[in-house]
C-alpha cells in the first residue's frame, strides 16, 4: 500500500516538473529572418528596463530605436543591389534593470527568437552580461547607453559602442579650461563613488595631470549624499580654482546648489549627467555657469558640411529632422538617450548598406571599416583586438547654462568650438 502511494506522489511530482518546464518555455514567437518575395524581415533583439532604476533612460533609448525602425520600414526598407528589400522588426523583454536574467533573455533572443542583430540593454553592467551571449552566438551587438571602457577590453569581437567611452567623458572639460584660462592650475575632483563616475574622473585626473594641472583634491562621496558641506569645506581649504566631478542627476544638482549657496570661489565647475538634463534649470541662479558633458545635444552642429570638412561621409537625418520626427511621434523632446537609441539603429542600417548584405560577418566587416558622421556625431570603432569595438570617433559636447538678455536660463553648447552655439561664460559667476 505504501509503495502504491509513493508511486502516486512520484507521479505527481514528475507531472509538476513537466508543467513547470512547459511554463518556462513560454509561447513560441514568430520571429527570425522571414522572406516574402524579395522582401526580408530582419529581427532586432534587445532588452528594455521597463521596471527598475534604469526605466526612464532605457525607455527613452528604446523610443529612439523604435522611431528608426518605424521610419525605415515606412520608407520601404533597405534595398540591396540584388534587389532584396530589408525590413525590420523588434523583439524585446523586460530586464527589470537587473543582471539576474539578462543572459537568459539574450540567449532567448539569440536562439528562440533568432534575432539577426542585437542592441544592448541600458547601462554598462547589463551590457557586460549581454555581451558574453552576443559573442557566444556570433551576433553583432550595437551598444548604446553603455559607456564603460572595460566592456570593450575583454577581447570581444562582435560588440560595437556608440557612446563616447567613460574615459573621455570629462577630458574635454580639461581642454575647455586650458583654452579659457591658461593661468589656472589647481583642480579639485569631487565625484560620486559609483562605477561610472569613478572611471570617468580617474581618466580625467590622469589627463589633467598630463596637461600640467595640480590635482589638489580627489575625493568620492556616497551615491545618496545630500549634504556636501564637508566636501565644500575641503574644496575651499584646498585652494582649488576649478571643480570637476559629480555623478548622477540627484547628487549633481544638489552639489551645484550647495556650491552656489556657500558662494564657493571657483572659476569653473563641470559636473557629470545632471547639467544636460532640462530639469537642471530648476536650480535657477545656481545653474548659471555650470558645464556638463553630453553625448548629444539638439543644437550640436553635426551637418553634411561638417562631414565634408572632416573628409568623411555624412549619413542619415540632420539633428533637426530627428528632433522634429521624435517630437511628432512621442510629443516630447528627445534626450541624448533617445538619440543614442536612434543612432544605434542608424549605424546598423549604414553597416548593412555598406556591406550590401545581411550576412553578419559582412556587416561586422562594414562596422569595422566605418568612419561616418551622423546627427549624433562621428562614429568610428577601434579595430585593434585589445579594445575592439570601442568608440574612438565620437566626441562629447559640453553644455553650459547661461542667461539670455531677458534673464532666462538657456542651455548652450560651448565645446567643441566647431559646434558651439555660444561663448564660454568664464569665470563662472
Amino acid at each position: 500500500m505504501k509503495r502504491g502511494k509513493g508511486t502516486l506522489w512520484l507521479g505527481l511530482a514528475l507531472l509538476l516538473v513537466l508543467a513547470l518546464a512547459l511554463a518556462a518555455c513560454g509561447g513560441k514567437a514568430e520571429t527570425g529572418q522571414q522572406t516574402e518575395g524579395n522582401e526580408v524581415v530582419l529581427t532586432i533583439g534587445y532588452t528594455e528596463s521597463q521596471t527598475g532604476k534604469y526605466n526612464v533612460s532605457s525607455s527613452r533609448q528604446v523610443k529612439g530605436l523604435q522611431l528608426w525602425v518605424k521610419q525605415i520600414n515606412e520608407a520601404g526598407g533597405i534595398e540591396l543591389s540584388d534587389g532584396t528589400v530589408i525590413k525590420f522588426k523588434t523583439v524585446s523583454y523586460d530586464d527589470e534593470s537587473s543582471k539576474d536574467r539578462v543572459q537568459e533573455l539574450y540567449t532567448r533572443l539569440a536562439t528562440e527568437d533568432n534575432a539577426d542583430f542585437l542592441i544592448s540593454p541600458y547601462s554598462s553592467g547589463l551590457t557586460a552580461a549581454a555581451a558574453v551571449i552576443a559573442e557566444q552566438y556570433g551576433k553583432v551587438m550595437i551598444t548604446t547607453g553603455a559607456a564603460s571602457d572595460s566592456i570593450y577590453k575583454k577581447g570581444y569581437t562582435q560588440v560595437f559602442q556608440i557612446y563616447t567611452p567613460a574615459s573621455r567623458y570629462l577630458t574635454g572639460a580639461v581642454d575647455i579650461l586650458q583654452k579659457a584660462d591658461p593661468e589656472l592650475k589647481k583642480i579639485a575632483f569631487v565625484y560620486e563613488d559609483s562605477k561610472f563616475a569613478t572611471s570617468v574622473v580617474t581618466a580625467a585626473k590622469d589627463y589633467a595631470e598630463s596637461k600640467g594641472y595640480e590635482v589638489v583634491l580627489f575625493e568620492g562621496y556616497a551615491p545618496d549624499t545630500t549634504d556636501f558641506g564637508p566636501f565644500i569645506n575641503k574644496i575651499v581649504g584646498s585652494g582649488a580654482e576649478a571643480i570637476l566631478g559629480g555623478g548622477h542627476f540627484q547628487d549633481g544638482s544638489t552639489f551645484a546648489r550647495q556650491l552656489h549657496e556657500e558662494g564657493v570661489p571657483v572659476k569653473f565647475v563641470a559636473l557629470l549627467v545632471a547639467p544636460p538634463e532640462p530639469d537642471f534649470a530648476e536650480l535657477g541662479d545656481a545653474a548659471v555657469g555650470i558645464v556638463g558633458p553630453s553625448q548629444w545635444e539638439p543644437q550640436a552642429q553635426y551637418t553634411p558640411e561638417a562631414a565634408q570638412k572632416l573628409g568623411i561621409e555624412w549619413f542619415g537625418p540632420t539633428s533637426k529632422e530627428f528632433v522634429d520626427a521624435y517630437v511628432a511621434e512621442y510629443g516630447e523632446e528627445p534626450s541624448y538617450h533617445s538619440a543614442g537609441g536612434y543612432a544605434a539603429g542608424l549605424i546598423l542600417e549604414k553597416a548593412i548598406r555598406a556591406a550590401d548584405s545581411t550576412d553578419p560577418a559582412k556587416v561586422k566587416e562594414a562596422l569595422d571599416a566605418m568612419d561616418v558622421l551622423i546627427f549624433f556625431g562621428r562614429i568610428k570603432f577601434e579595430t585593434a583586438p585589445e579594445a575592439h569595438g570601442l568608440q574612438i570617433g565620437h566626441e562629447m559636447v559640453y553644455v553650459q547654462w547661461q542667461k539670455d538678455d531677458q534673464g532666462n536660463l538657456k542651455k548652450e553648447v560651448v565645446w567643441p568650438e566647431a559646434g558651439a552655439t555660444a561663448e564660454l561664460l568664464y569665470p563662472k559667476p
Partner: protein, 342 residues
Amino acid sequence: MSQRKPSLPPAFRLADFRPALPGRHWANWALPLLVVLGLGIFPLLTGKDVHRETMFTLLRAVVMAVSLNIILGYTGYVSFGHVVFFGLGGYVGFYLVAVQGRTLWEALLAGGLAAGLLAWLIGIGILRLRGAYFALVTIGVNEAVKAFIQNFDPFGGPLGLTMNFSVYQAYGGPRAMLQMTYYILVALAVAAVLLAYAVRTSKFGLGLLSIREDEDAAEVMGVVTPLAKTWAFVLSAILPGMVGALFFFRNGSVEPHEAFPLHLSIEAIVMVMLGGQGTVLGPVLGAAGYQAMRAFLLTNRYLKDIQLTVSGALLLLIVLFIPAGLIGWLRRRFPASRRVLL
C-alpha cells in the same frame, strides 16, 4: 519528537548529522532530489540553450531558497540579508579567477569558504539577538559588506572587476563554459537538497526545530542555542557563496550594486514561504514555481508588459489561500501525505 530523549550534546559534532529518527520514508529525500534532477535534466533533453539558461536562473533560486530554509524554516530566524553570502562568494571567486588567475574550482571552493566564514563571524556576533532584531541586523550586514567592498581597492572599489573573455578558453570557450557551469549548478542544487535533508532529519536539525518552537525551552533542554544557530547559519551560507562565484564567473563582471541586491534576499524568503518553510521539498517547489512563473510572464507575448502586476496578484492569491505554503497545505489537506512529504 516528544518520545525522544530531549537532551542534546553541548557541542556541535559531525555525529549529530546521523538521522535522529528511524524509519523515514524513502520519498522524503527522493522526491526533492527527483524534482531537482528533473529540472536539471530537462534542458539536456530538449537540447535548447534557452531552456538551459532558464533552468540556470531557476536552479540558482532553488539553491538560495533551500539554503535559506535552514536558518529561516528550520531555526525560525528570518535573514533578510542572505544575498550577502551570494555577493561575497561571487566577489572572492571572481577575484581569484580574474586577478589571481586561479581556476574556477578553486574559486568555487573559496567562494563557499568565504561565505561560510562570514556567516560564522556574523553568527557568533549577532545570533544572540532574536526575532526582529536579528532580521534588522542581517540587512545592516548586507549593506556594511557592500560598503566595505565599494571601498576595497583589491576588489576594484566602486568599479568592480571585469574578466577577459579569453579566460573562458581554458574551459573550452564560452559555449562549453556555459554548459559546464550549468552542470556545476545542477550538482550544487543536488548538494543543497541533500544537505537540507541531512540537517532536517538529524539530531542537530531537531535542535534547530526546537529553537524555532521555543528557544528558551530548547536551551533548558540542553541545546546550546548560539552554537547551533551559528552552525545553521554557516550551513545556509556556503552553497549561496559557491553559486555567487559561479554566477559572476559566467557574467564576466562583478560590481557592488549587482552583487548585493536586497531584492534577491526578499525573493528567496518569498520562495521559501510559497513552498512551505521548514520542509525539504517546499523550498525546492517554491523556488522552481516562483521562477518558472516569472520566466513565463517575462517572455509571454501578451503578459510581458504587465508581468509585475500579474506576478504580484498571483503571490497575493497564494498567500491568501495557502499561507502555510504548498507542502504545508498538502500535509494538512491530505494527512496520508505526511509520511512522504517532508
